[in-house]
């Protein structure tokens, strides 16, 4: 290494690699496009004017108000509650379903799988409507429970998709080895399979949570006494959007970034790399 003198370094005439002209600029512009609304939200959350159009002066008023607005906080709490419960159930149903689809063979599996994955892409209006009609036919009153049902559709499908993808890449031999070494199937799952698919579960749950937390269309059809944050904001659109909404969006935004970083840190890319 030491003999790598300066003279040899200087004569390096690196071969030009092809670069698509302007690709980076294009990339930056797209990021800008993606972030434009977020910037607006952030700026207005510090805007002392009620009007969303003119920026007057910096204020923390909306952040302060935020924490004394019990209805808004309740809506936020409800959103968290419904998303957490829906995601927890989705993790159980989706993970067991993924194992079912990957480790048990039965007729009509492909059809089963494609129907089960449909809620991810089906327009919310269709999911919402179909469940609403179903529920009304059963004379079940609308409540948090019905909202949960609605959220369970796509959250489960998302977890199913993510875990399924992971499982299909995971060598079956690890489970086999565990059983071979004396672990009954249940233990083999908890000691071996689960740690392997942990990351996919967390990733799927996170994505499902993101979608559930922001869900409006399905919730709109299925809620009654139960107000989630998006529903609250939607209702506010009738009477006027308070800058508090910008503030709470900013809070959620910061919180989500922290969450993403933390999950990235805790699950790490390591074990993923190791296995695949």
């Amino acid at each position: 290494m030491s003999e790598m003198g300066a003279s040899t370094v200087i004569k390096r005439k690196h071969r030009k690699r092809f670069r698509f002209p302007g690709l980076e600029i294009y990339g930056v512009l797209i990021y800008l496009f993606l972030y434009m609304p977020l910037i607006v939200v952030l700026v207005y959350s510090f805007n002392s004017s009620q009007s969303a159009m003119r920026f007057q002066s910096l204020t923390l008023e909306w952040y302060q108000k935020l924490f004394s607005d019990s209805t808004l906080l309740l809506a936020l709490f409800n959103s968290l509650k419904v998303s957490l419960i829906a995601v927890s159930c989705a993790v159980i149903i989706g993970t067991s379903g993924a194992i079912f689809l990957n480790r048990v063979s039965f007729k009509g599996k492909d059809l089963f799988r494609s129907i089960a994955l449909m809620p991810i892409i089906l327009p919310g209006i269709i999911i919402g409507l179909s469940i609403l009609i179903f529920i009304l036919n059963l004379k079940i009153p609308l409540s948090m429970f019905t909202v949960l049902l609605g959220h369970l559709t796509f959250t489960t499908a998302v977890v199913l998709q993510q875990v399924s993808a992971r499982l299909s890449r995971l060598s079956k031999n690890l489970e086999n080895a565990a059983m071979d070494l004396g672990a009954p199937p249940i233990k083999a799952f908890f000691y071996v399979t689960l740690p392997m698919i942990k990351r996919a579960i967390i990733g799927g749950a996170l994505l499902a949570f993101t979608m559930s937390f922001d869900e409006i269309i399905i919730t709109y059809f299925l809620t009654s006494t139960f107000t989630t944050l998006p529903i609250y904001i939607y209702g506010m659109l009738r009477f006027g959007l308070s800058p508090e909404i910008y503030a709470i969006s900013a809070v959620v935004l910061v919180f989500s970034i922290v969450l993403i970083i933390l999950t990235a840190r805790f699950t790490g890319t390591e074990d993923e790399k190791l296995i695949s």
Partner: protein, 345 residues
């Protein structure tokens, strides 16, 4: 069902305390007057908000005994009745009805079916045109502004089928805008297409109306909440705004309570209706919402300027024809006409 009983069990708390379940628009059950009510009647009030009239109806239909009362515009009473969702009120339990302004006492058609009363008012308002006086000067008192090619791309109307059909029918001079003949409907439709083409946007609720006017997106907007809008624009956006009192007639709505069938606490419910008509609550309502109070009591408590702006003080004296919202002849048809108009180019 099991779920219902769980919910009821949860919200009911102890059995000694009565519970009132309310479904309403935001603003109609504020803590300011709900808390005293709870104390006074030793009960718990659970409030659920709905965003739109339609949502309200769907929820009521799905609710199955979940709510005691809900707030609805007067135009929907017939519909709730036909769907078998509501029961008549015992006017004896709502003595405050006598406090209503003369106008509301005289015109009771909208709430009476087969001689029975189904609706107890809360507030009222009109669907009206609010405009930017700085830019437009003073406009004539006529709905025609909305069709005026001078203002093409500068006006907006609400994206609500019935409102627009009624407004257009009034503008066209039809006697009963809630009961139009096929021929009249066709004329309305033609006018609606022209209306839509003159519009910059179709607003959805107060936020988008206020946004439209305050940002200069539009110069004149139809609003179902004209009073609130004017106040906002004057006070917050510091604009000089005007309101049209169309000579063809104005179209007003009255929001009020209906008593649902299967209500668990009908007595408490009617106590609440009565309570809403008490002077204090009417004043609170008018103050917090700047809608029209249905009793004259609020008049004294309100800023005179606000009163003058919004005619709250003289519903009994308004000179132009007033059309109280009613259930129209054919809901499907009106929806379709509006959809057709929007789809037309």
């Amino acid at each position: 069902t099991a779920i219902a009983s769980i919910t009821a069990g949860c919200s009911g708390g102890g059995s000694a305390k009565k519970t009132l379940n309310i479904l309403c628009f935001q603003g109609y059950a504020d803590d300011t007057w709900v808390k005293p009510f709870e104390k006074q009647y030793n009960c718990t009030v659970n409030v659920t908000y709905a965003g739109t009239v339609e949502e309200m109806y769907t929820k009521a239909k799905a609710g199955g005994g979940q709510y005691d009362i809900l707030s609805t515009d007067c135009g929907s009473v017939q519909r709730y009745y036909e769907a078998g969702l509501i029961q008549p009120l015992d006017m004896g339990q709502i003595p405050n009805t006598s406090k209503l302004s003369q106008f509301f006492q005289k015109n009771a058609d909208y709430k009476t079916i087969d001689g029975k009363v189904y609706h107890s008012p809360i507030v009222w308002g009109s669907n009206n045109v609010v405009y930017n006086k700085d830019k437009l000067g003073t406009l004539p008192d006529s709905w025609s502004v909305l069709w005026d090619p001078k203002y093409k791309g500068e006006v907006s109307v609400t994206d609500e089928a019935n409102n627009n059909v009624v407004t257009t029918a009034i503008y066209l001079g039809f006697k009963d805008p809630y009961n139009l003949t096929t021929d009249q409907l066709n004329q309305v439709k033609a006018k609606l297409i022209a209306l839509k083409n003159n519009c910059r946007e179709l607003t959805n609720g107060f936020d988008s109306e206020k946004n439209a006017l305050s940002t200069g997106e539009t110069l004149a907007s139809v609003s179902g909440y004209d009073s609130g809008l004017i106040l906002y624009l004057k006070n917050t956006a510091k604009m000089n705004v005007g309101r049209i009192m169309p000579k063809e007639g104005i179209y007003i709505w009255i929001d009020g309570w209906v008593l649902l069938k299967g209500a668990k606490s009908p007595d408490l419910a009617q106590d609440y209706m009565n309570y809403i008509l008490s002077d204090e609550v009417q004043i609170d309502l008018a103050k917090s919402l700047s809608f029209g109070a249905v009793t004259p009591a609020a008049k004294s408590a309100l800023d005179p300027y606000v009163c003058s702006l919004t005619d709250y003080d003289n519903i009994d004296n308004i000179k132009v024809p007033i059309f109280i919202m009613k259930n129209p002849e054919n809901v499907d048809l009106r929806t379709q006409i509006w959809n057709d108009a929007k789809a037309a180019s």
